[in-house]
Amino acid sequence: MTTDTLSLTFSALGDPTRRQILARLANGELSVTQLAEPFKMTMPAVSKHLKVLERAGLIVRGRKAQWRPAKLQAAPLREAADWMEQYRQNWEESFDKLDAYLKTMQNEKNKSAD
């Protein structure tokens, strides 16, 4: 995943309304009207959110002119999750090194205590 796409994904997810939109799309595709309803938002406002999500590759829009349903695309979300997974792994490895070093520290302490 390019870093540009990653930034787009994170910034797309940075808005609570967009996250709610994604959560609803996880249950199946929806039209702009259907998406706008619970938010009591105007259609242009919802469309704006959808454009952000589409740009980040998180949704695709259907092609029919009158009714363009939005559908969730899992790949960028999975890749963003992988990236956070990388951070988690970095910390786990740091902790492995910390664990080993603590043993050294304790041995040193015990030696000087003799």
Partner: protein, 156 residues
Amino acid sequence: MEKLEERRVEVSRTFEAPLELLWKAWTEPEHFMKWYGPKGFTAPTCEIDLREGGRHLWSMLSPDGKQMYSTGTYKEVVPMERLVYTDSYSDAEGNIISSAEMGMPTTMDVTVTFEHADGKTTVTVSHVGYGASAEHAGMGWEQAFEKLASVLAEGN
């Protein structure tokens, strides 16, 4: 989805060592440099001004010889209990490098907690949201998106 919504990474480990040693390992440069960084990385430099508002500047050296500096400020220092600091990629002088140049979130908010029980110490590290950096980096994008959106709307 929850994990992504929080944008939080949280890692915890229990060490067979007393609290004082863990605190030292995290807050004294000579010890910090001995373990910090993933497998194959070393931490060749480390400066820590351990107080609220104090700065840190450390670096990591990758297995293929790339040295990456990061800097930040301690927001909270509660001895033997908690550290809260920011961490941003920087140059060797401690000037923060924007995410565009580094290709990664610029700033992380890191919380480290220490808990002691039965001679063992549990350390939990939490990056609370890439919010600061993703939004910061994302701000430019959202403005671009808004511009793009209005251009598209005009086009329609």
